[in-house]
Symmetry: none
Subunit: 229 residues, 4 copies
Amino acid sequence: MTQLRQLGRFMQRDEISTATVTDLIVPDRNIGYTKGHETRETILRTALAILIDEGWQAMSMRRIATACGLKLGNLTYHYRTREDLVRELLDAVIASYEREFVPIVQQDGLRPEQRLERYCRLVLDDIPSKKTTRLFPELWALANHDPFVHDRMHELYARARAPLDAIIAEMRPDLPAEHRETLVLFISFAMEGSTVFAGYEKPFVARIGLIKRIAIGSFVDLVRSYTPD
Amino acid sequence: MTQLRQLGRFMQRDEISTATVTDLIVPDRNIGYTKGHETRETILRTALAILIDEGWQAMSMRRIATACGLKLGNLTYHYRTREDLVRELLDAVIASYEREFVPIVQQDGLRPEQRLERYCRLVLDDIPSKKTTRLFPELWALANHDPFVHDRMHELYARARAPLDAIIAEMRPDLPAEHRETLVLFISFAMEGSTVFAGYEKPFVARIGLIKRIAIGSFVDLVRSYTPD
Amino acid sequence: MTQLRQLGRFMQRDEISTATVTDLIVPDRNIGYTKGHETRETILRTALAILIDEGWQAMSMRRIATACGLKLGNLTYHYRTREDLVRELLDAVIASYEREFVPIVQQDGLRPEQRLERYCRLVLDDIPSKKTTRLFPELWALANHDPFVHDRMHELYARARAPLDAIIAEMRPDLPAEHRETLVLFISFAMEGSTVFAGYEKPFVARIGLIKRIAIGSFVDLVRSYTPD
Amino acid sequence: MTQLRQLGRFMQRDEISTATVTDLIVPDRNIGYTKGHETRETILRTALAILIDEGWQAMSMRRIATACGLKLGNLTYHYRTREDLVRELLDAVIASYEREFVPIVQQDGLRPEQRLERYCRLVLDDIPSKKTTRLFPELWALANHDPFVHDRMHELYARARAPLDAIIAEMRPDLPAEHRETLVLFISFAMEGSTVFAGYEKPFVARIGLIKRIAIGSFVDLVRSYTPD
DNA sequence: AATGAATGAGCGTTCATTCAT
DNA sequence: TATGAATGAACGCTCATTCAT
């Protein structure tokens, strides 16, 4: 349990993998002043990197400040409270996932089955990334005790499920909405569950290929053959 | 973000749901001295209750001590460091899950398909319990940054998968081990994934019945019809 | 003890009672540039309102700035240091009291006793105002640790006593100066003392009428019948 | 305004006048452990000394800790929050005043007028003490924004007025209660008002003798001759 | 087995002030 | 005039840990 503290103590700025999280877009509040905007971007990127590398508890204001090369006082100038920072961070992170996943299945010219397969493949391809593997379990844990995280996270998931719902509606126009939605739900969280087992540095990450095949095959069969009884 | 603090401020000892977690067994190191043993049990039970009710960060030594009615000094007598306490807590929690799940499928006289269904049903029935919904995401997050938690948790999962592996081996003796294991893995984490969406106080907890039916049907189909190609 | 913080959190700009303190006159240092002068006036008025509503500690540069709708940087342009602001604020506040009280007794055609009564009545009428009740105890406390406040405040009191001294000199030309001055002093601080008990929102504010009658009667008797022995 | 900070910076432990405030009685919570009790006594005495010497704002947890020779962590062990400390401090301070003033007039064998004179003399004798001069204005200012201080303080004053009420009831059994109480009130706050003018290091401290004579004479006359009309 | 006492580090936050633009 | 940015110090508080009794 103590390795976190030790990490925090000895880790230098450069060791943090900010490079892996470059797609955060920070709202530009003071148009015309680019400096502050860049600083806020750096802050969020660094905070996310710490969150990913060392976990929620390590992501303290002081830790973020030193990792950014900022003084604590200046960090609180840009984000007056930790809560402000966390909220904007979550907004940015979640927005980045939305940007990534929503346009996935808008590629026309594919049959719905192919689009289903493609959707699942893209989701499962993302699982073993360090960012996803580390970030989401953190969010799941936080969501249990923090309504804001809970709501934002399930909002993201709802949007991520929308294209899947559209695909299945095409494949199975006969299904009542509730059954269709629950199929979508099942497929969605069956894939999410793989994070803990086949994610970054997880025991079965090497088997992700076979897992993917089994999962996608199973999902396609399910959608094809499901009957509400 | 602040609700933890507020909970901590207003929550009284009695409100903690120790009642829901009565099945912890603490190793009795001092045979004959039952008092200390009971105290250690109370400590772990209380710690778990806090972990479940308020999250990992709230589970501080002070918090545990006051919730137990112990003085801090006495708590550190029983568990010299927080790490000691956490390790024994995780051991006890994980052992309790093992006691719960391992004997599940040893009921003879059932066909393997029935046992598969039964296994999945039992696992999914446990998902919406407060204890499971709150505890496991916490473990998943911790496992990302703490090798001890990582190892103990995956050890638990490995044991939990063993009966499923036996069932599928019976159903599909033709399958190579790797394929069989991966099927088991997929079924296992597909169910785990439901925690975040259909667990205690989660948005789709009401739909757990339909989810269960879809999941089990899908798993049975999968095991029956899977071909390694 | 925490209500200040809560006040600070929830109070909006408009709730501050700037309306009650409109009689501040700020020295215009840049004749011709009225904009800055108006800004300085707004700043002082707002600062006073905060001082009255929330106390000395709440009157921070940031708090004043946001309450004024100014940016902190701009506030420090107008008042380079907090000390500058405080000094000018005190000067303005004290000057406003001087403007209020000095002309009180210059109304001719009244007998000295009537003017004494009138003076006391005016002073006592002012006691239950929010401004006076809140401001003066703050000044008394500050004066104990800050020579500037001490000196400015007693300068104000000295000027406020002057008309009273004139009245009593008329009524009792026989009294030696020291005795007359001490009578003035006694009457003066006997009235000041009522602030804490019968001021704004104080326990005996409802009894201010009877208090006034007792006080004035007592003072008139005292001046009439006092003998140095 | 800056001298407070400088005082805080350069003042050493020994310079604080703890000697002037030795009559605080701290509730003994852990019977048997005298060490902690002594520590808490020292803490309150030191806190009071700082409050008197440097004012409310200077009485920070860090300031108190260093002035006591304690570490901050240890101070918060004895008083978990500043609020706890402040409350116990005020309770102790106010209790000490009660111990001092309540038994004043229980000395029998004196005529009521003599007891009235004696009461006023004792109150006025206390005014120029550093402790009283410094402490009460601080309380008055705090009471304006803090209901706890407000209530405790006026509770003290109510008890302090009780003996005076008894005396006047003896002298003037003909007076209705409300008139008697208001007389008491007037006498009481007329004396309190002298704090700001004739207290410790105040401009008219040298004239306290004459003030005392005028005040007491005036009060005796008032009680004797007051008519409700 | 239990308690009180103490330490040192860290937390989030507020603040007065300075300065470049 | 006015704004954004930054600094350094202090604040109240929580924490894991150690130790004498």
